[in-house]
Symmetry: C2
Subunit: 428 residues, 2 copies
């Protein structure tokens, strides 16, 4: 397992360590400090000191020598409400920086979300209202609350990028654009293939990497976290910071999490995901079934457990993973309950059931069902909770206050949820 | 001569006329109207009704049927102060539209001029102050005053494009950019060659055609005039107007004037130009030497004379051209004087001379010389005139109030000018 991990670390991290040894005194605080929290489960840190350019400072050196907390940026796209464990990977790394005394700067990309796709062609970039964005951002923050340190003063800064992007005028935008050439932009993964295939690339698409890069300027980021697909954009941020007289940020790239099918990238549309807002029992069920080939990565990325002390038996490893992760998000008691429920064979785990036979008549409004199940104290409270975005069915938020079900069978087996902690499974 | 002109008219103008005949009644006001003022000396009008797309309205039809004056746009780059007869070609066409009852919309491109080139690499696009731009714009207007109708109400609108461009925010700019693809932009003449040669094209350069196009949206242009090199930019304006729900403008392309050397495009740096601010005598001298092969184009573009009634003798044609053009800018008396001066062999024409021997001592400040020559009433007025940008030496504006000449010989043969009408030639 430990070997596997070492194999996965990029070669240049090893090079980096030897570089540091050669340039700093062995008594230096850098060598004294333990950076395993930084190195765990990462793909790459850039830039790196190289033989050619050995005066580049390493991130480790910066961390060790800085006389102030570093500002560690993570950008969030508030177009969707629910996030899954794939999204949690950089957030967990952000927490590791917080624990080392640094400042997490979460940037909610509300500006782009509120503009949508100007060509109107992309379903993905549909235009959201300010209220949509605010609600999605709040839902996001609720979901990452168990991961991040929200309480220690100075450890978390939440910023909306409309704060600075809405202030940009044409002069400034020309300046941003002037820092890059068409050739550089077309070299970006994604653009290169589309250009080669003569698929249209709209000019405004060239601005998005610059907007993300300008976020780094605006918050004066020292480090930016992202998936491996973010390397280009993070590098653009470095260039812009240099252009505006700032010390360029480091990029720290994290792997893309494979879904519970063991094959494809975790994704809601592929159904191979574990959602952060799912019930502890659901989380446990999904995680205890993770294929053996994924266990190493899941332990490395989703837990802080030492990787050389894991159980030998694969089934024990699966159960430890499930228990450990549920504990992180819901506490030890919920983890134990989920484990017991799973043992007792109840595939549905610890979700209490409610028999729809108790509802006297259908069609029935959801607000009425919320009251009948006891999740809300009245139909009126049910309506309010729906309006506030606090009601979910199988994890999907319901926003239509008048939604009505014709037959109880439409709801059989589905999990109805209010807020973070109230669930019932609807049964016949 | 008349044949030569017909040859130069693009084939599709002929096609256009036959199209109109086929779609409108011969009693229509279009056929009754004389559009020779429109067709004289142009390269192309676009779009044109075609066999494929015969429902496209022609510019002639629009002119004939519009129940309001059309808005005819010409963009001006206020980075240089002095303009020459090459610049006058579209301005003269603008005057023709004014005389036909339409509104000339002169757009001073102050926004771009004030930004300069954000890469800082282009000497051409150096950043100008607001005061520079205002002075250049004023100088431009002074020079085109003899061409345009400044007096008839509703015939002239002067606009500065910072009025709308400085108001653009990132959302709007993304929208502008989203109307075009990288492939379309790289097809633009200039970009295509540079991209092929792997010469860098900076991203902000893609915004300039869109900014010019957005000018058309802002002023709701019906027609845009420009040199043949402006076809792409004018077409971008059409696309943006369509995007914003306006009827797209027509493009009217004018030829690039060949300089007095008969070979290259007229250009100040090549020395083959006649400046609009030059003395009548200088204009006459230069124009009476225009090579025979250029006379047809010069008559067509720089005068309103009927082209089939020109003198047969080439020397007579040269003199008629020179006289006619000087008359346009300075009136009949000045034209006659310039002609007499030229006849009497004085290569310097009607410029009075001032002997520098009259100045008691050198080094001498220019402000002092201005007083000594009588061009200004005092050294103080000389300083003020320099500060106001009203003083030129050989047509180049002097802006340094303290400029000092060490020896009279530095000035021998040069023409010193204050305002539009006061000149002396400095002689030993």
């Amino acid at each position: 397992m430990a070997d596997e991990k070492t194999d996965k670390l990029p070669v240049n991290v090893t090079n980096l360590t030897s570089q540091i040894k050669s340039v700093v005194n062995s008594e230096s605080p850098i060598m004294a400090q333990d950076f395993s929290w930084l190195h765990r489960g990462i793909v790459e840190v850039f830039p790196q000191p190289t033989d050619i350019n050995s005066e580049i400072e390493s991130l480790e050196k910066r961390l060790a020598n800085s006389n102030r907390p570093l500002r560690v940026k993570l950008g969030i796209d508030p177009t969707g409400a629910d996030i899954h464990f794939g999204h949690s990977i950089p957030v967990r790394k952000l927490r590791a920086f917080q624990d080392a005394g640094h400042t997490a700067v979460l940037i909610i990309g509300d500006f782009t979300a509120r503009i949508g796709d100007p060509t109107g062609k992309s379903e993905v970039r549909r235009q959201l209202t300010q209220a949509d964005v605010a609600q999605n951002a709040q839902t996001y923050l609720d979901q990452v609350r168990p991961i991040l340190d929200f309480d220690t003063p100075g450890r978390l800064e939440v910023r909306y990028n409309s704060e600075w992007l809405s202030q940009l005028n044409l002069g400034k935008i020309l300046e941003l654009l002037s820092t890059m050439t068409v050739g550089q932009m077309l070299a970006k993964e994604g653009f290169a293939e589309r250009y080669k295939k003569e698929n249209p690339i709209f000019l405004h698409e060239f601005l998005y990497p610059l907007m993300q890069g300008y976020d780094s300027v605006a918050v004066e980021a020292d480090v930016e976290l992202g998936g491996t697909d973010q390397k280009f954009n993070i590098a653009v941020g470095r260039d812009l910071q240099r252009h505006f007289g700032q010390t360029p940020q480091f990029g720290l790239l994290l792997p893309i999490l494979i879904g519970t099918d063991g094959v494809q990238k975790m994704s809601k549309s592929l159904g191979n995901y574990v959602g952060l807002s799912e019930h502890p029992g659901q989380k446990y069920q999904k995680l205890q079934g993770v294929p053996d080939n994924l266990l190493a990565q899941y332990f490395e990325l989703l837990t802080d457990l030492p990787l050389d002390k894991l159980p030998e038996n694969p089934r024990d490893r699966q159960m430890l993973l499930a228990w450990e992760v549920v504990k992180q998000y819901h506490g030890e008691q919920a983890a134990n309950e989920a484990k017991e429920a799973a043992k007792s064979g109840g595939k549905e785990g610890a979700v209490p059931e409610f028999s729809l036979a108790e509802i006297p008549h259908f069609p029935a409004k959801l607000a009425f069902i919320l009251n009948a199940t006891g999740l809300c104290k009245s139909t009126g409270e049910g309506r309010r909770k729906i309006q506030e975005g606090g009601v979910r069915l199988d994890g999907d938020r319901i926003t239509d206050v008048d939604i009505t079900y014709q037959e109880p069978s439409e709801l059989y087996g589905r999990v109805l949820q209010v807020g973070k902690n109230k669930f019932v499974r609807l049964v016949p």
